[in-house]
Symmetry: C2
Subunit: 347 residues, 2 copies
């Protein structure tokens, strides 16, 4: 039956044209934003950043974000326990708030699960999510459950507060700013490779990389500290440093270079993966770390005042005139080929 087609002038499903695989994730996101941008805005920051920002009252803003984990794309049941999966789904969503410098206040979750799913598995997912929410100081505001003839889907929406203007924006970078990252890079991407390789015998170090993938922690405190220190440009690098920094340069109207010799990576990443370590460290996603850009004159004070209980920050490059992102072996050094980026969506 094609009731609706007969009845409405607009396009029906599956009438042809390029597929999402043809178009790719980035072009898809751009096109969706263009459509959303045409609707009447009531937002301080619309879509296109880690999170959208709405101002319910003068002086206080609200950051809103949403992120889904899909079985077979983002995880496999054999990789992860349901309790960890619930916690991971929340952390992934909270990382977008961290990338804004926001303080989480609520989360809400939709779970789509086949009717054959074990009841106890679903409760474990909820327990993992609620425990992680409690740690983040974030209320669980309900959500939705739905049957699906297909994979498990967990989609989390989160909200967090910001003082007006005190936010890490993708469009806040200026030529000459230094680029910093939190923590170490490439560990989660290394974990994904090990999971995909499927070997059963892992060293303690390899196990830690797998844990970095399966049990990430959003850098909430680090985002808050960056904002409190006056930093106004940044984001999370869950899609990889390269992709996030390209978004920042595009939205800030400048270029950037990163210096491989400055990247905070474990020596074992280089020894275990050889030349592929750069793909993991700057191209691989799943590192729920933050990147930020700030004036060179402000960097020393930031480093000096950085609390010891937070993930350390490291200078890894600089915003510069022009456009695009160059990967150099060192500051003032030679240009290297662009490392491979990994996107699991519509690639």
């Amino acid at each position: 039956m094609t009731l609706d087609r007969a009845q409405t002038p607009e396009r029906a499903f599956d009438e042809g044209g390029p597929s999402l695989a043809d178009v790719g994730e980035q072009a898809l996101l751009r096109a969706l934003r263009e459509i959303a941008g045409a609707s009447p805005p009531a937002l301080v920051i619309g879509s296109g950043d880690d999170a959208a920002v709405w101002s319910p009252e003068p002086g206080r803003d609200l950051a809103i974000s949403q992120d889904a984990l899909v079985e077979g794309v983002d995880f496999r049941r054999s990789w992860i326990s349901p309790r960890r999966l619930g916690a991971r789904a929340l952390s992934v969503a909270l990382s977008d708030l961290a990338g804004m410098g926001a303080r989480p206040v609520w989360c809400s979750a939709t779970l789509c699960a086949p009717a054959s799913t074990c009841f106890e598995d679903v409760l474990e997912i909820q327990r993992g999510l609620c425990t992680a929410a409690a740690v983040a100081g974030c209320a669980v505001a309900g959500g939705d459950v739905s049957a699906i003839v297909g994979p498990l889907v967990i989609d989390i929406s989160v909200g967090g507060t910001l003082a007006t203007g005190a936010v890490l924006r993708r469009d806040g970078g200026r030529t000459g700013d230094l680029v910093v990252v939190t923590g170490t890079l490439g560990r989660a991407a290394a974990g994904v490779r090990l999971l995909l390789d499927g070997g059963n015998e892992l060293s303690e170090r390899e196990r830690a990389w797998v844990d970095a993938e399966l049990a990430p922690v959003a850098r909430i405190g680090e985002g808050l500290q960056l904002v409190a220190s006056g930093v106004r440009c940044g984001g999370d690098i869950s899609d990889g440093l390269l992709v996030e920094l390209e978004r920042i340069t595009e939205m800030s109207g400048c270029g950037a270079e990163i210096w491989l010799d400055r990247l905070p990576v474990e020596p074992a990443l280089v020894s275990d993966f050889g030349a592929a370590w750069t793909d993991l460290a700057v191209g691989g996603g799943e590192d729920f770390e933050l990147v930020a850009a700030l004036p060179e004159a402000a960097v020393a004070a930031l480093l000096k005042s950085w609390p010891e209980n937070l993930a350390p920050i490291t200078v890894v490059g600089r915003l510069r005139n022009g456009a695009g992102l160059d990967v150099l072996d060192s500051e003032g050094g030679s240009l290297l080929p662009r490392p491979h980026t990994s996107s699991r969506h519509f690639a």
Copy 2:
């Protein structure tokens, strides 16, 4: 590889026990709420109502809800155009805000789609969503896109404002309150039957029922009017009047009766579907109407002041002592068997 199982003490996926189909949707929701209820609350209303409510500042509350449409469960591609699907997904989510008496301010959407999906279909979904958002005065705050090896999933989160305390709660009913509904009942459920029957020749009336299913409008204005009139108990009946009223009686600590002769239904529903009309009108979901309960003394004023441009309201029953929900043929009349309710989730 069972890395995680070896490593963490908690349950792995698929270790056995009852399935979601064994347990059913209502028991699942209750169990999920119990787990969420144990986490530290910062909410005025936690999960268990149409939406959760958070108070960012004294005097102003924020209602938050999330709702998913899953292909094969909630819709089929042959039934609906992608543009209508986007609008419908938003309306379904907004209906939960209407059920709280909240004014929508933002929405956010996750779309999971197979890589083979037509790019243009996805843009049409976004256009439908954004147009519906503009009509509702609701900003589109981005969201997420993800690949899926499975059906289309559109999951929408929405936020809306409330003056503190001016909210339609499920637990706000009192014995003796009269029960009112907006609009007419059973039209969307009739539309679903026609869609499932698959016939191609529809009368104008049947087409209108199908439209009621495919292009619902959330009763935002009606929810605001109820709250402005002092009503404090209610919800949306997207899961059917019977199911919603049972939730209200359970949370309000009372029972209820509804009077079939008072239900606002089109005569054609009775003539076309015979005895099954009650299943459609009180058991069938998808009517994005509201139900509310208010003191008998307040009903006359509400009816008199009700604006003509809103869906009309009708008294259909009463809250009473005890527990449970009785369906009577009329006020003071005979008890009838409970009509069939339809749930597509884990039934």
